[in-house]
Amino acid sequence: MTEYLIRRAVQSVLVLFLVSVISFALMHAAPGGPLMVMLPKGGSQQAILAQEKNAGLLDPMPIQYLHWLGQLLHGNLGYTYKNHVPVGQILWPTVGNTLILMGVAWVLSLLIAIPWGIYNSTRTYGISDNISTVLAYLGFAMPAFWFGILLQEFLSLDLNWFPLSDMYSMNKQGNIGDLIWHLILPVCVLVLVFLASYLKYSRASMLEVLHMDYVRTARAKGAPEKHVIYRHALRNALIPIITVLGLDLPNLVSGAALTENVFNWPGMGRLFVEMAFAREYAVLMAITMLGAVFVVIGNLLADILYAIVDPRVQLGKKGGTAA
């Protein structure tokens, strides 16, 4: 296990390095630059050149990359080009804000989706199953931002039950109750999106397992139905769900740009889009690398969890099904 983890760690560093080189090159290859602006009438192009020179943007790209890497190894994510604000000062609060929004929505949807999916798998095509199917279709088919706008329209602007947007009211910054109040609408939107896929996954993978021979055997030996489902079937049914969860981990920090936009949530999704338009390379690199780290961690966690859920999986051993 330890040997396996070390090997994976080394691989991960290599992957992250490659990701950084490729994204750095791609970003700089895109036309435009962070200091490139539409100048006012009579504005000076030379002045912009002087700014680019002062900011180091005229150095050859490999030098710029090494400079960035060197800073990163010293724990410094760099500065924005336009106004020299430390990237961390912009980035970390938005990471936190996105984690709050996505985390709450995610936990809620799991709490709903997994038990409900299991229940539906035991009573297929019943009322509950049909309702969940309709919900899942809605979640898949309806653009999340549009659902968000509908909620704002009816529940906030017309009925005035909920706040429209933002994380806090202006005069209640940092107040937890106020935060929860502001979370309700965007979380509703995201939960619907999450439910769509998780209801389907948990129901389908349970159904598959429930038809296996060993489940029939368990039933045949007279085990109570609850026992059959939760002890025998669920463990195997969880494996595909874990795979999906592991692959999706990066989304928890990358955020949901459109939903964040509609609800003016100061999160990562919005930041990334805004910074992409502004060509703020240092911020974009930081976000990309953070995403890459989460991809690596997500995959690793999924592999480890296979071993915990399914004793047949032995990490690092030849013949292990998931290693």
């Binding site: 009579g42 192009q45 336009k82 609060p93 602007l157 429209l164 999706d248 740009a257």
Partner: protein, 566 residues
């Protein structure tokens, strides 16, 4: 559930960062409530105190005026800085209760020496006096190429700036440059005592302008907090020299885009939104708690032709004939665009001068009415013949060109589509192409590489436009991106700059208007509207009402506004 409660898992989200483009919704549907026509903004007696919430659709970049080039930063600078001279309601440079100068600008008869008298009681927010040193420092910083201030061109003609005493500054010019007063002296100054030891190349990296505690200012309010991507806060500065502002606190709320911003106004989270999308005007009018202003703003849009043949296949530039360019102007129904796309918030625009200002040439500028038949006749006169596919041809070249615009501007996208249709009606193939703004600037505009462009200019207070029309300013160094050349007009621009006699200048600009609207390097389209919504809580006296036609006019005399209870 065994096994799953130990670790928190992530989950998929449908939306993908990076694929978002602005403009997901077209505003809100109209409400049923009848529009409230009462002008509540003018009612009542001033009240001191309270909070005014202003909104912007993107975060500020820096409140250091040396480097400001975006609207939100410029807006917030209106709160915290005092200008050397103010502008009055008509856009004239004046000294008033809010300007650092307490006497009118003194210009020598030969136009080469400007003398500024500063008031003695002006103070920075840290209690230090505002003096001639600050003005000298600021102008020298703007002039210094190492600093990299985009405004440097306005200060190029300055030979020397001197402090005569603590309250008097003298500026000597290399040559007469009339735009100097309006373009360079309606400007804030920087605190020399804070910044004088910062090396020029480091000024942009200095925390002045991004850290509120280090941004010492001299305006009615001072900057107290910046929560990035969320809000900025300002409070009345007890050190301010001018009349105490009625409003105690200002919050500038940062929204993700104009649609979210508008929702904030409709909900009542915001007291002023100066970017109400025209698609939402009806919804805003239906809200009786909102007071809507819809005047035309200080900017115009145009279709710019490119006169550099290397941008066209086989080096054939279809725009070289005067009659061809005039035909294009006749082929476009600009009034219908103003009515239907701008929803009546803009105005037809002929020529490069601000309507209603002293330089407005009136009828001297040719107005091209919508007349497709005349367009066809002119095209025929210019040697264009109908081709087999219905598109005009000349010497075997089809009349086909690409019209670029910045992709996330929905107004330009709609206008481009109409232009395409209307030009097709006269036998011209126009292919609109939306481009990411940053890429458009980098690849097309800065290098003059495009065929035709749909874009706009903000007016400066001074009418001079040499930098965009003169052949002295070809790319990559200048802003004459279409490589337009007319030596007669080149000379006239210089003539207009080289006298400070306004009556003479007026004649020169009239002549330019006449010539340039015949020559048509641009099809001047329309003055763009800037619909601005105020909550009914915001009040002002008639003299202090916002004037949308001025730069930052939606905040005109905000020192004298007040917020009431409704």
């Amino acid at each position: 559930m065994k096994g799953t409660h130990k670790v928190i898992y992530p989950i998929a989200v449908m939306t993908l960062a990076g694929t978002l483009l602005v403009g997901y919704g077209n505003g809100r549907p109209a409400h049923n409530a009848a529009a409230n026509e009462t002008n509540s903004a003018l009612a009542g007696q001033p009240v001191d105190g309270g909070t005014f919430t202003f909104s912007v659709s993107s975060d500020i970049v820096t409140l250091n005026p040396l480097f400001t080039n975006d609207v939100p930063s410029g807006d917030c600078e209106q709160f915290i800085y005092s200008p050397i001279y103010s502008i009055d309601r008509k856009g004239n440079l004046v000294n008033d209760a809010y300007s650092l100068a307490d006497q009118p600008l003194n210009v020598s008869d030969d136009g080469l020496r400007y003398t500024i008298h500063l008031r003695k009681n002006a103070k920075w927010s840290d209690g230090q006096p505002v003096t001639a040193d600050d003005v000298v420092f600021t102008i020298n910083a703007l002039k210094n190429p190492d600093v990299g201030s985009p405004g440097i061109t306005n200060y190029d003609p300055v030979k020397e700036v001197k402090k005569l005493d603590d309250n008097t500054v003298e500026i000597d010019m290399k040559h007469v440059y009339a735009p100097f007063a309006l373009n360079a002296l309606w400007a804030p100054v920087l605190p020399a005592h804070i910044l004088k030891d910062v090396p020029a190349k480091q000024l942009q990296k200095n925390a002045y302008g991004t850290d509120p505690s280090k941004t010492v200012s001299d305006g009615p309010w001072k900057w107290t907090e910046w929560k990035q991507k969320q809000y900025l806060k300002f409070e009345a500065d007890p050190n301010y020299f001018g009349p105490k502002p009625h409003i105690q606190d200002i919050v500038c709320k940062v929204y993700a885009d104009q649609n979210t911003e508008l929702q904030g106004l409709l909900k009542g989270d915001v007291d002023e939104d100066d970017e109400v999308p025209v698609t939402a005007l009806d919804a805003v009018k239906a809200k009786h708690k909102i007071h809507l202003l819809t005047g035309a703003g200080p900017s115009y849009e145009y279709i710019g032709f490119n006169f550099n043949a290397s941008n066209f296949p086989n080096n054939f530039d279809p725009f070289t004939g005067d009659k061809t360019r005039q035909a294009i102007a006749y082929a476009l129904n600009r009034q219908a665009m103003v009515d239907k796309i701008l929803k009546g918030t803009g105005k037809l625009q002929n020529g490069p001068f601000l309507p209603g200002s002293w330089s407005d040439p009136g009828d001297a500028a040719t107005n091209y009415n919508y007349d497709p038949n005349k367009a066809k006749a002119l095209l025929q006169d210019d040697g264009w013949k109908s081709g087999p596919d219905g598109i005009l041809q000349k010497d075997g070249h089809r009349f086909s060109f690409e019209l670029i615009y910045n992709a996330n501007n929905s107004r330009r996208q709609q206008v481009a589509a109409v232009v395409q249709q209307e030009l097709k009606n006269v036998g011209i193939e126009c292919k609109p192409k939306g481009i990411d703004f940053s890429a458009e600037i980098d690849q097309n505009l800065n290098h003059g590489k495009f065929q035709a462009v749909l874009i706009g200019w903000q007016w400066n207070l001074d009418p001079d436009s040499e930098s965009i029309f003169s052949s002295k300013y070809f790319p990559p160094n200048g802003q004459n991106a279409g490589w337009y050349q007319n030596s007669e007009i080149d000379k006239l621009w210089v003539e207009g700059d080289s006298t400070i006699d306004q009556a003479k200048r007026k004649e020169v600009y009239k002549e330019i208007a006449q010539k340039i609207t015949q020559d048509l390097p641009y099809v001047f389209m329309y003055q763009v509207g800037d619909p601005t919504g105020f909550s009914s809580k915001v009040h002002w006296a008639p003299d202090d009402a916002p004037n949308l036609a001025l730069p930052y006019g939606y905040l005109f005399h905000i020192q004298n506004w007040w917020v009431g209870t409704h």
